[in-house]
């Protein structure tokens, strides 16, 4: 009989019971995560207080006290010395400049067409369920850049000006930010992959060139790259040969992020077990099909967080083009501060808040999309 207390052998199968209420549902979650001990309860309360003290003034400034409509600065001045909120009327008035820069007003439709085409091609590309990915990619990566190039810069055939030329010096605002970011992102990924493969290559010259490229571009600050491209490069070029300043910036930014991208991708390549290479080789796959079909899909999937990190970094680094005299979104906003029509104590606050909001929306979308793709590509082999 004593044994029965020590050993238990089931004769009837134990039923599966639902989890106790205290560990599931909202109350369970709160108990587990917010109030699991006295210390945690204190931390929760302190956290809420900090969040409140930070958010409340922001909401007060940006929403409650904000001025939404108005003709000029008088609308955003505090008449009775009371609180002054964000002057959204100023942002509204300047919005075309923030989006298009000094692009000629009668040609702005061309920029809009480019924006619309881009959205039209990008959105179906990003939704996995939409078919015709091959055609879509071809349109987005080959046809769209050509169309966008002529739409934005202009098209002259013979003597006939089909689309009037718009100098890149007239571009500005979000247009410049997006052109640099999108070009940089789409060009730096394949370049980075190429240099990552090059750095792991057994062929000494290819390896050497890749290492030199990566270490050079990682070793210099982006500001230097931009300065060099706009100030130094013309000195080395023969007289009469000039490149568009925007083009020089594009090349600089792309090569700069390609070097970072290469190291991110190399990290992914190193994480792929040797067995994957051997499995592919034993089946008779040659180097490029093996890389394209087996190794890169797995390696790139592993480093999605790192890739998106580089993308976000690049997106924000576009603001540096200000120092070579180009006006991206932030530069355009800053340059509007000198306009006396909207000169108020809150003009700067409002402008920077708007810039922060736009940048945050773009970067946060990239971040969320990368998480979505990570989950989508998760095929159950991660344990």
């Amino acid at each position: 009989m004593a044994n029965a207390e020590v050993f238990q052998v089931r004769t009837v199968e134990a039923p599966q019971l639902p989890a106790p209420v205290s560990t599931s549902g909202v109350i369970g979650w709160m108990r587990l995560n917010l109030f699991s001990s006295i210390g945690n309860t204190i931390l929760t309360v302190v956290g809420i207080l900090i969040a409140y003290s930070l958010l409340a003034p922001l909401i007060q400034f940006a929403l409650i006290d904000a001025v939404w409509v108005g003709e000029d600065r008088t609308a955003c001045l505090a008449q009775d010395g009371g609180h002054i909120g964000a002057c959204w009327a100023y942002v509204g008035d300047y919005l075309p400049q923030f989006i298009y820069g000094r692009y000629p007003t009668e040609e702005i439709w061309r920029v809009n067409v480019v924006y619309a085409l881009f959205a039209l091609l990008l959105v179906p590309m990003m939704i996995p369920a939409v078919p015709f990915k091959g055609t879509n990619a071809l349109l987005l990566l080959v046809v769209f850049p050509i169309v966008a190039y002529f739409l934005l810069t202009g098209l002259v055939i013979g003597d006939e000006e089909i689309l009037p030329i718009v100098e890149t010096a007239q571009w500005g605002g979000l247009l410049v930010t997006l052109v640099i970011a999108v070009t940089g992102i789409t060009a730096s990924l394949p370049l980075g992959v190429a240099f990552a493969l090059g750095r792991r290559s057994k062929m000494p010259i290819i390896k050497f060139v890749s290492v030199v490229f990566i270490e050079f571009w990682r070793g210099v600050p982006l500001i230097t790259v931009l300065f060099m491209s706009s100030v130094m490069l013309p000195l080395f070029l023969p007289e009469g040969v000039t490149f568009d300043k925007l083009l020089r910036v594009l090349v600089g930014v792309t090569l700069f992020s390609a070097a970072y991208m290469a190291e991110v991708v190399r990290g992914g390549l190193q994480a792929i077990p040797k067995g994957q290479y051997e499995g592919a080789m034993a089946l008779g796959l040659r180097f490029w099909p093996m890389m394209y079909l087996i190794i890169l899909p797995q390696a790139l999937k592993l480093v999605i967080p790192g890739i998106v990190n580089t993308f976000i970094g690049l997106f924000k680094d576009t603001t540096l083009v200000l120092i070579v005299g180009m006006f991206d979104l932030l530069g355009q906003i800053q340059s509007s501060f000198s306009d006396p029509t909207w000169s108020t104590p809150v003009q700067g606050h409002t402008g920077y808040l708007f810039a922060a909001l736009v940048f945050w929306v773009f970067c946060f979308s990239m971040s969320r999309y990368s998480i979505f793709i990570e989950n989508k590509l998760h095929t159950g082999h991660k344990r």
Partner: protein
């Protein structure tokens, strides 16, 4: 270890060995890892239809030897002739040989980002240039043969080890190889799953496939192999028919090895 394999009862009627057609011939092959002489003066001739089991203590070079046959490892001296083609640095020859030689690994090496079906159709489509539809039919045929057609749309990570190894075998068979290499195919499996993999391998042997298996499944060796090779310190020290090999081992090292793996 051998209990599961004892139940195997292969039908030997189709296991015919060719007298004239040589599948693999290795002549005076030597290999070094840096300064370490891993394979020393290997000579081996495998006829079409032969089923050879290679065993030996770990580090004896048995895996390295069969990996040389499809050039996953490079030999430095001697000759390896596979299906009439000599393995050299000529990439075309290497491709040709890899197309004809299938291989199963200890850790399966399935592609985790592709479904079972895609794993099986990948090489036929990209290497043999087979139309997708036909490749899928072939793949389903072999998946049925290894008894897991219902898993075709799952990913490798969702399958048990035994199922994954059977998929790996099916994946190799989709390339219709003339020779199959097995590199410890059951060593990473739970005991319960060893038999399902061995059953598939016995089935292959019954159909007359030329097989070189590195394995410690002595039951399998006894029932299926027509020759057992024992390697030690990078050399082939003994080869014999299975009955003779197990009951009357000649070399001292073989006797020690067999006593250690059979009597515990």
């Amino acid at each position: 270890m051998s209990n599961t394999a004892e139940e195997l009862t292969p039908d030997r009627s189709r296991m015919t060995i060719s007298d004239t057609e040589v599948a693999v011939e290795i002549k005076q092959m030597n290999k070094w890892y840096g300064d370490f002489h891993v394979l020393r003066d290997i000579n081996l001739k495998v006829m079409n239809g032969e089923r050879i089991v290679i065993c030996g203590p770990s580090g004896s070079g048995k895996s390295t030897m069969i990996r040389c046959i499809n050039r996953l490892e490079e030999h430095q001296a001697g000759q390896i002739i596979v299906d009439g083609n000599e393995l050299t640095n000529d990439l075309k020859k290497i491709d040709e040989i890899r197309r004809e030689v299938g291989m199963c690994f200890q850790h399966f090496n399935l592609f985790p980002h592709l479904t079972i079906l895609e794993n099986c159709t990948l090489a036929p489509i990209w290497v043999r240039k087979m139309p997708k539809k036909q490749a899928e039919e072939v793949a389903m045929h072999y998946l049925e043969r290894v008894k897991i057609p219902e898993q075709a749309l799952k990913y490798p990570g969702q399958l048990s080890g035994g199922q994954q190894q059977r998929v790996a075998i099916a994946r190799s068979l989709c390339m219709s190889p003339k020779i199959m290499l097995f590199d410890e195919p059951t060593s990473a499996l739970d005991p319960e799953m060893i038999k399902e993999v061995l059953d598939v391998m016995v089935g292959l042997a019954e159909e007359g496939m030329t097989m070189l298996c590195v394995t410690h499944e002595m039951g399998f060796a006894r029932k299926v192999a027509n020759r057992v090779i024992f390697m030690d310190a990078g050399q082939i020290v003994e080869q014999n028919e299975p009955e003779e090999f197990f009951t009357n081992p000649q070399h001292e090292r073989t006797q020690l090895f067999l006593s250690q793996i059979l009597h515990h």
